[in-house]
């Protein structure tokens, strides 16, 4: 009886994922074994878990190590993204408890669910086999379907969950079909093997299976990162989902989508660089423009931020279309900044809205700036950062993305990008107009911030400013992360 040769197992490579999964499972059991209505302690435990995982992930910084027969890799690129995911999960958890209590849906499963989604994202960033990427993506998506429909009593949340589910599953179909065709054309699902095959057989670039496969994969990922014209689900889902989950979705999973997208596109289809470069800039222009233009007319702040998040995906795509190290590093940095500023902005929204997400419109913010000056200032900082004004992280991120495009010769793409930024100013400023320049229409009922949210805001503001003023270290790390 011959034994089957096992691929080299290197558990150290997936240690962060293992740790986080274990923590999530333990929390899941703790949740059912410990009675009581207050589930906040699970959130704190999750944060400890995330911190431990982050430590374990960062410990792998350095030369890249491939494991499981080249299915998964521990490289700086993945680690940088993992940190982004962990941070966005941590921030999202910090802002969850109060909201969930307010909306009467503070089931303890929330936290393990977020952690599992984070594991999925980590797998997406680390996977070098389309199978692993797919599994990570689905682990993430399935958790997100649940999370966006978390508030069972709210019709909006139901709709968000269902819509996200249907469209997410639909896009998964495309992604998978693309993977299948690519597999058929190249004979492997491993990114390195595909790349080697393509290098060895340049003729494959004209193989319809391969080209269609690439296109379908691009379409699938575009769905996931909400790039126009595949963005239709985003506003509804973001608006309907519970606010902390919207914050989470807009930061972590989007970054994860980019991580996988970059890895697949840059490695697996190196020969088609010219073709997908064109594809990407079209996507970038469309995404930025559509996101910004529709955001202009939004009254609901959540929905406005949803469209703005589409636009931000467009900015990131500008860096992606540049296909150079600066662009990739720019995306990394931008995603990190975006996690801070966007979740921060949502945290403020959470504080403002009352049960049932009443007060979610920009008009409801009238006079807020004078009632709660500190909070309004914090929100303004986030919004300026989202708009890309110095001295905030958002500015540095955009600077890098547009620089990458300019360096790659896409000057006009950068110009479209900055014009879009200028357009986006209008709707970000609109929030501030209401906060500072309009008189309040009704009295604020102020529930007060919890310590957790305060910590979240503090971290987010601090990071937004620090990354804006002294971004050097992080940028350097981002640069190192993209030296594959």
């Amino acid at each position: 009886m011959e034994t089957i040769a096992m691929p080299a197992i290197n558990l150290a490579v997936i240690m962060p994922e293992i740790l986080l999964s274990c923590i999530a499972m333990v929390l899941l059991l703790v949740n059912v074994f410990v009675p009581g209505k207050n589930k906040a302690y699970l959130g704190y435990l999750s944060i400890i878990g995330l911190a431990v995982t982050a430590a374990s992930a960062v410990g792998g910084w350095g030369p890249s190590v491939s494991a499981f027969n080249g299915s998964i890799v521990q490289d700086n690129f993945a680690i940088f993204f993992k940190v982004i995911f962990l941070i966005s999960a941590g921030l999202a958890i910090l802002i969850s408890d109060r909201y969930m209590v307010q909306e009467d849906c503070n089931q303890g499963e929330l936290y393990p669910m977020i952690l599992f989604a984070t594991v999925g994202m980590m797998l997406m960033a680390a996977g070098t086999d389309m199978m692993v990427i797919f599994l990570g993506l689905e682990l993430l998506s399935i958790c997100l379907y649940v999370l966006s429909g978390w508030n069972r009593a709210s019709l909006a949340s139901n709709e968000a969950g269902l819509k996200y589910f249907l469209l997410g599953a639909f896009s998964t179909g495309f992604l998978l079909y693309g993977m299948a065709l690519t597999y058929g054309a190249t004979g492997s699902t491993k990114i390195m093997a595909i790349s080697a095959y393509v290098m060895g057989n340049p003729g494959v670039a004209s193989n319809p299976l391969f080209v269609v496969g690439m296109l379908l994969i691009a379409v699938g990922f575009s769905f996931k990162i909400a790039a126009a014209p595949f963005h239709m689900w985003t506003p509804d889902v973001y608006q309907g989902a519970p606010t902390p989950m919207t914050a989470f979705m807009s930061a972590g999973p989007k970054a994860a989508g980019f991580a996988a997208f970059i890895r697949v596109m840059i490695f697996a289809f190196p020969m088609l660089r010219a073709e997908w470069g064109d594809l990407l800039w079209i996507l970038a222009v469309l995404t930025m423009t559509v996101g910004n233009i529709i955001a202009l007319s939004q009254d609901n702040v959540k929905r406005m931020l949803a469209y703005s998040s589409i636009a931000h995906a467009g900015y990131a795509l500008v860096g992606f279309a540049a296909v150079n190290a600066e662009g990739a590093a720019g995306i990394l940095f931008y995603m990190l900044s975006y996690a801070f500023m966007n979740i921060g902005a949502f945290a403020v929204i959470i504080l403002i809205t009352k049960k049932g997400e009443v007060n979610g419109n920009v008009q409801d913010l009238a006079g807020f700036g004078h009632k709660k000056p500190l909070l309004a200032m914090v929100l303004s900082i986030f919004l300026f950062s989202l708009a890309g004004m110095p001295p905030t992280a958002g500015f540095i991120g955009k600077f890098y993305l547009f620089s990458a495009a300019i360096k790659a010769g896409y000057v006009w793409l950068a110009i479209i990008g900055v014009l879009n930024s200028a357009a986006s100013l209008y709707y970000y400023l609109r929030v501030m107009v209401f906060m500072y320049m309009k008189d309040p229409t009704e009295d604020f009922e102020w529930a007060g911030a919890t310590p957790a949210i305060a910590v979240c805001l503090l971290v987010a503001v601090g990071a937004t400013l620090v990354l804006g003023v002294v971004p050097g270290t992080v940028l350097e790390l981002a640069q190192k992360a993209v030296q594959f």
Binding site: M1, T3, M6, L28, L29
Partner: protein, 118 residues
């Protein structure tokens, strides 16, 4: 290759013919005296109340869902079982982990009361 499944096809055809044939035959020779009362759904002899297409207990859905999830695990267990001896120690440990993870979900479901049927 196709030959292996040809007998099955033949069997299917025969079974279908048998089933259809007996239905048709019985409907030909059976008597037919339909009346409105006879065609009403049975409800212990009373007038039927409301539609039958109503909602039913969520429990059935839970069972279906749990079935899908646990059944899918069999997808992994079957090929593993066939190759289990050749996989050796590694395979055993791996499947042990798999089952442990499964048990976490199982315990969760149990504690949540999804397996209760009151």
């Amino acid at each position: 290759m196709l030959g292996a499944y040809l007998p099955i096809l033949v069997l299917v055809v025969i079974a279908c013919l048998f089933g259809l044939g007996s239905v048709v035959f019985s409907s030909l020779i059976g008597q037919k005296k339909p009346s409105q009362v006879k065609l009403a759904p049975y409800e212990c002899g009373c007038e039927p109340v409301g539609s039958a297409r109503e909602r039913f207990s969520i429990k059935f859905y839970m069972v279906a869902m749990l079935f899908i999830l646990f059944d899918i695990e069999a997808v992994f267990l079957y090929p593993w079982a066939v190759l289990f001896k050749r996989l050796g120690m590694f395979g055993l440990v791996e499947m042990g982990l798999f089952i442990v993870i499964l048990f976490v979900g199982y315990i969760y479901v149990w504690k949540k009361g999804a397996l209760e049927w009151e």
